[in-house]
Symmetry: C2
Subunit: 139 residues, 2 copies
């Protein structure tokens, strides 16, 4: 279960996970529901699905307050907040076509985190700013 997703972004998280329902995955979502800690939130429950580290990193970019709860036999077996590292490496590309990280050089794109909610990334190479909408376009 992924809880405390930024309200309105559960469907984007499903997209990150490549889930559209067509492969029979059992999924339930609650979108823009009231929350004790936040004003509103989204919740996502996915049956029998482990998240890859790379997927968790992507989720942190658009839903930095999300918590990932593993539920076994109707009990919470583990609970972990996603973590937005100070530097984002290799997950997304810089949108600036003339940025050196988009050239043939073997340079991994790298961004500093200027803001987390909503996300604001600054390219370490060209200073280009990437906002949430720009990032979602790559997922």
């Amino acid at each position: 279960m992924i809880d405390h997703i930024t309200p309105g972004f559960a469907l984007d998280v499903l997209k990150i996970l490549g889930i559209d329902g067509k492969s029979g995955e059992v999924v339930s979502t609650a979108i823009n529901v009231e929350s004790k800690h936040l004003h509103h939130k989204d919740i996502l429950k996915i049956q029998d699905r482990e998240l890859k580290p790379n997927e968790v990193d992507k989720i942190a970019l658009i839903a930095p307050n999300a918590t990932i709860n593993i539920i076994r036999n109707f009990e919470v077996a583990s609970k972990k907040a996603v973590e937005l590292p100070p530097t984002i490496r290799g997950i997304i590309k810089c949108d600036n076509p003339s940025c050196i990280s988009n050239s043939m050089e073997p340079i991994k794109p790298e961004f500093g985190v200027d803001g987390s909610e909503p996300i604001r990334l600054r390219c370490r190479y060209c200073g280009h700013i990437m906002e949430r909408e720009d990032i979602l376009q790559q997922f």
Copy 2:
């Protein structure tokens, strides 16, 4: 509440309704859950949202067994199955670019229903077959 949606198609129904969560709509979905009557189904609950006839027609194309329940004060106030008419008029365009319905003529596209689950439409003008994936592309 929209019940008995073809399993795996709740997110497509949300797309038809133009709901992505970003406007604060309170929505919950259950995808690929077990059903008494069908093997599996999807369910969609949307708060304070009336469906336009044109939206119901689109839903019928991809989820012909869907039922639309209006819930007021926690009780089902009305329950109605969507209906797939024998002729589909003006909801989607023919995919065949040389079909006369795509010319400048004032002709409304029109399809006969060859099959309903999954949907199979036959253009009345050129005989071109439209399947579910082709139809979803237009929503």
